[in-house]
Each structure stands twice: as C-alpha cells, then as structure tokens.
C-alpha cells in the first residue's frame, strides 16, 4: 500500500496501481479515450494527462504507476488547458456530424467537449476527407472521419479474441484503421467493437440510424441465449405518445461482470433480441371447435384445477404429464417441483429445451438455455419425453414453452396430441402448438419478469424485469395460484409474493441456493 494525494484527498492505494485506476477507485473521474480496463494501457489519446507535483511536465494517468507520497492534481489549470488542447487536436480532423451519428448522446468526445470548452476551433484549414462507410464485418461499419485512432478495436481483436483482424495502415495524418483487403472481422464477438469505440467510428448496422441513444431506457438483465448467464443491458424505446412503436428493444449491450463475462457478450446474445417483440402470445385463449374464447386467468385457473382435481380424485395422477423447460427461473422450477412432484406426486415430469449447438471456448456455451444448472440444483429430473408413450399414458398435459416444436415435427406432435384429452400451453410465443392445444396462457420472457438463474458454473444471479409486461403473468405467480387453488402445501407458498421471497424460501430447503 502506498499513500498518495489526489486533488488534496489522501488515499491509501495498493502498489502497482496506475493513477487513473486509483483516482477512479476514489470516485475522481479522469477523462480518457484509449484506456480501457480490459487492456494494457496504450497512452495514445493523451486525454488523461495529470499534473504531478515535482515533475516538470504532465504525465499520463493511464500508464503512470503510483508512488509513495505522490501529489496528483487532476483538475488544475494546467491540466484543463492540456485537455482542451488534446480535444482541439482531435476535433481538428473530426467531422462533427453528431446530428446523424449513432454514438451521439453516449460519445466520449462529445461529452468531454461539452465539459471542457465549447471552444471554437482555431484551425482554418479544410478537414481531410475520408471514407465514411467502410464495411469491416458483417454488422459493423467504420467511419474513418470520426475515428480518433485510439486503437481500442485493434487491441480487443488482438488481446481478447486474438484474431488480429484490423490494423493501423499508413502514417501520420493518413493513418487509418483497416481490415486486410476484403477479410472482414470474422468472429462472433465483433459486436463488442461498436460498444468499445469511444466515438462513433464503428457503428452497428443493427442499430445504425434506427433511433437515438437518449430515447432508450437502459435496464439491467441477464442474457438467456446460453447457459453462461452474461450480464447485459436491455435498451428499450418507450415509444412516443402518438406513435407507438412495433418494437420495444433496440439493442442489447454487455454489462460488466468480472466473474462471468468481463465486459463482453457474444454476437449471438447481442443480435437475437427480436424474439422479445415478435410473435408474442397476447391473450388467454380457450380453443373450442375452431372458435376461440378469451378467458381471464381466474377462469382458466378454475378449469385447470378442476381437471387436475378430477384426475387425482380418480387416482389417475399418473395420467397427468408436465413438460417444463429451463428458460424457467430457479424459483419457477422450484415451485414446479413443489407443486407437481412433491405436492401432487406426479411422476411424468419432463424437460424440453432448445437443442444444444456448438459453443466456443470463450463465453458461448453449448446449452442454448439459461438455467439447466438450476434444474439440476432444484432436483428435478432432466427427462426428455417419448411422444408415443406420452400420448398413450396422458390425459392432461401441461406444457411450458414452445421448444417441443424444435424437437419434433408438427405431424408427430399432432398425432400424439390428438390422443391426449386436455392440453394446457404456457408460452410466450405463438407457435405451431397453438392449434394443437386446448388452452393457451401467455407468459412473460426473462426480460420481463424477475427471478434468478443459475449459470453453467453454478453462479446464481438475480434479475429484475427490464421491460414492462402487460402480456401475461409470470410462471411463478401462475404456479402459486395453482398451488392455492389445489390447496397444496398451503403453509409456505401462499404468502410468497415475489421471486426474492421464493429464493429465500429455497435457501432454507436447498443449501445450494443459500
């Protein structure tokens, strides 16, 4: 530990820390472009210059290591002057096309200019004309006029993905970021570059010109696309008063979590958000001979409970089947275990998930579902149903999720389902199953409900709704209602009113969730 002073604030910081990190730790921001905590310091942008007593010149906060008794000034007149000068040089070649730039509103250059000046440029010379639309990967566009050559993209591709797809060509004023001929950046972490770029030089075709950053509501969530459980931000547009939008989610961004995903997410998780807004179930529907009737949850619950009760009363509970999936949260799987397995004593409980796909050696896992580990820890069996057998032994089938469609053909499903008396479907999306079942009950997605997920390494992560959900009741709520209606296990369950309360209750019963 060494003692240092930053702006007269006395700090005890660990040896080997850079000034920038020490200052950030103490809540003193030091402006920077090229520095990024995930990479070794580069020192190319010169924005983080600070004054150190006893040294004749300003030093780089990002690469200067603290020493005992160091007195650092981060906001002296000299430092402010230096920052203005750096900005003036950067802006000398910057096109200032903020009004059409997708980064506007979250651009460091824009923020610092507002903070340090609003000065007029003294450069009278015309700015260099450069290419403004260079495709560098399937989804990324490079604007060489906006680029400030911080080389964050280059360092990401050489230090994190180790693919070295881009380089800085030429020299001096002609320097430019480039890919080799037409070799696009070809790895499925490239989407991080648009986020990493401190200015609007790298933009994402997925987001380009779609909306403005300041309209978006940024909420924390967990990525459900694989079992890694990467932390994300879901950026959604609330819509305008007179023009509601068809789409709520405009962007998924990585959220820092050093235990899981560091600062990154894969492109699979980043770009597959359209499922949140497309093809959603909207109403509880009772299907009866080609005529659909809309039901309230209370009515649907009574129908469901009556079916269950009658089969249990006739000692036919082996003829009730339940198909779960691991897009359900820990809490929901726990309740499913309590209600179906422990409460009703059902045996035919199956799990149908999206099929596994190839993962990679970084973040993306083979399991394309967020909570398989949770299923194991809750203690539910991971059984895949045999459709033929299921059809013969089942009178009432409760299906959670639509993943059956990915596992079996519609003809197979139809011939099996025709033999089953009553089928309830709890699903977020419309699918081929809709026409094969008797009651469809819409459910929210992970982005719209609260709860917790257990990632592939057994880390339990809680999350809150990132989007409002007017489409359906979360499964945990449905399961509690069902337990109440069936009068199962009345003591602990009936008062549970939130995923947090359920998780606490789980912790008492299962040490893993403590």
């Amino acid at each position: 530990m060494v003692k240092i002073f930053i702006d007269d604030k006395e700090l005890e910081v660990s040896n080997g820390l850079t000034i920038l990190r020490a200052a950030e730790g103490a809540g003193i921001p030091i402006p920077h472009f090229c520095y990024h905590p995930a990479f070794a310091p580069e020192g190319s942008c010169r924005m983080c210059l600070v004054e150190i007593s006893g040294l004749p010149k300003l030093e780089l906060a990002c690469s200067t290591v603290v020493r005992e008794g160091m007195k650092i000034l981060t906001a002296s007149e000299k430092v402010i002057e230096a920052r203005k000068a750096v900005l003036e040089f950067l802006l000398a070649e910057h096109p200032l096309d903020c009004p059409i730039c997708d980064k506007a509103g979250e651009c460091k250059l824009q923020d610092y200019f507002e903070e340090y000046g609003f000065f007029a440029s003294r450069f009278k010379e015309a700015k260099e004309k450069r290419e403004k639309k260079v495709q560098i990967s399937k989804n990324l566009i490079l604007d060489r006029e906006r680029c400030i050559l911080c080389t964050r993209c280059l360092r990401f591709l050489s230090e994190i993905t180790k693919t070295q797809d881009v380089g800085v060509l030429n020299r001096g004023i002609h320097s430019e970021i480039a890919v080799y001929e037409s070799n696009f950046i070809d790895n499925h972490y490239a989407g991080n570059l648009a986020e990493l770029c401190p200015v609007g030089a790298i933009t994402d075709t997925d987001f380009r010109f779609k909306t403005r950053a300041w309209f978006l509501v940024k909420k924390e969530s967990i990525c459900p696309m694989c079992s890694r459980g990467c932390n994300i931000f879901i950026d959604s547009h609330p819509g305008f008063a007179r023009t509601p939008l068809a789409q709520r989610v405009y962007r998924i961004r990585a959220r820092e979590n050093q235990d899981i995903n560091s600062f990154w997410i894969c492109d699979f998780g980043r770009y597959h958000y359209s499922y949140i807004d497309q093809g959603r179930q909207e109403r509880i529907v009772l299907k009866k001979e080609a005529k659909d009737t809309e039901l309230s949850w209370e009515k649907a619950l009574i129908i469901l409970a009556e079916k269950v009760k009658s089969l249990v009363y006739l000692k036919k509970k082996s003829r009730i089947g339940v198909i779960l999936n691991t897009w359900l949260t820990n809490e929901e799987l726990y309740l499913a275990d309590k209600v179906f397995k422990k409460g009703l004593g059902l045996e035919n409980i199956y799990v149908v998930d999206p099929p596994s796909e190839k993962g990679d050696d970084f973040l993306l896992t083979e399991e394309r579902t967020p909570n398989r580990r949770g299923l194991k820890e809750v203690g539910l069996p991971d059984l895949t149903p045999d459709l033929g057998k299921l059809a013969l032994q089942t009178d009432l089938l409760l299906i959670f999720g639509t993943f059956l469609v990915g596992r079996f053909s519609v003809t197979e499903l139809k011939s099996a389902f025709d033999k089953i008396g009553t089928k309830f479907l709890f699903a977020a999306h419309k699918s081929a199953l809709d026409s094969l079942v008797d009651v469809v009950i819409p459910t929210p997605l992970i982005a719209e409900k609260g709860g917790s997920l257990t990632n592939v390494n057994g880390k339990v992560q809680s999350f809150s709704p990132a989007l409002d959900n007017s489409l359906g009741l979360p499964e945990w709520k449905l399961l509690i209602d069902l337990a109440k209606e069936l009068k199962i296990n009345h003591k602990p369950f009936w008062q549970l009113s939130s995923p947090q309360a359920i998780l606490e209750e789980m912790g008492r019963g299962i040490p893993f969730f403590k």
């Binding site: 070295q164 881009v166 800085v168 060509l169 480039a178 080799y180 070799n183």
Partner: protein
C-alpha cells in the same frame, strides 16, 4: 514456401529470423530482403512474409504502409529522389523539381511509361553542403542546376 522466391532468399530469411528471439522481430529485415529480390512488396509478398513469420497479413501491411522505403509498387530502373527540405529549398529545389517533372513528363510519385525513371521527393538527404541535391538509386548528385540535370539524365541509360 512459394517456388517463385529464390533458394538464396529463403536461406537469408532463415538466417535473419535466427538472429532474433521472436520471429516477428525479423519483419523489417525480411521486408528488405524480399524487396531486394522482387523490387516491391505486393499483396502476394505480404502474405508470403506473413506466412513465414506467423503473422497476420494485416500486421505486415501495417509496417509496409508505415515506411516510405518499403515500396508497394515497383519503381523504374532509376529512382530519382530530390531533397525538398530546408537547405535545398532555399537553394532552389523547387525549380529543380519542376524541371524534372517537365523533363520526365511525370508527377511526383509516378514512373515513366518506359519504366526507366521514378520521381519522388524526400526529406533531408544529409548532404546540405552540396544543396540542392538528389539521389539516383544509391548515388548522390549535388550542386544541381538545369544543365547538370540534363547531363545526369543523359548519362543514365
């Protein structure tokens, strides 16, 4: 290794690589060796060098485009490099450059159609005592005026 490069070049490259703790460090000397044989570093040469040094071609191109003496296009037989730095300019390098452009019928950075002359300007050749000066390939010519340029160009066949 591609067969179009000589056995001698391959041998020299191996010697150069052996001199450094990391293969990457041999990039500049290898570029010079290859350029000496091929006259310039085209994309084929970039890929060839990247292959030997276990680098991505973009890394080789970064270096190729950074250094002016690594050529991306082959030059003419005679490379005329005129100093345009302070001493030479004060003593009339501007006129010399204009005269050469007119006489050779090309602009700076270009090569004559018969591939005989290439013209470029360079910063200080380190021969200010004989300013204005120029270099033709590896030979210096100083104290230039129009007549001397006529004579120099005439002597180059």
């Amino acid at each position: 290794m591609s067969p179009e490069y000589s056995e001698l070049l391959r041998q020299r490259i191996a010697e150069v690589i052996a001199r450094y703790p990391k293969k990457e460090a041999a990039l500049l000397p290898v570029l010079h060796l290859v350029q000496r044989e091929t006259g310039s570093i085209s994309p084929e040469e970039e890929k060839f060098i990247a292959g030997i040094l276990d680098l991505k071609p973009i890394k080789v191109r970064e270096v190729v485009t950074f250094y002016t003496m690594i050529l991306r296009q082959p030059l003419g037989k005679y490379h005329v490099q005129v100093c345009s730095n302070l001493s030479c300019t004060l003593l009339g390098a501007g006129t010399i450059i204009d005269y050469l452009k007119e006489k050779l019928g090309i602009e700076i950075g270009q090569t004559t159609p018969d591939k005989k002359f290439s013209l470029s300007t360079v910063e200080c050749l380190g021969a200010c005592e004989q300013a204005p000066c120029l270099m033709v390939n590896f030979d210096y010519y100083g104290n230039l005026d129009k007549e001397r340029i006529d004579r120099i160009l005439a002597s180059l066949t």
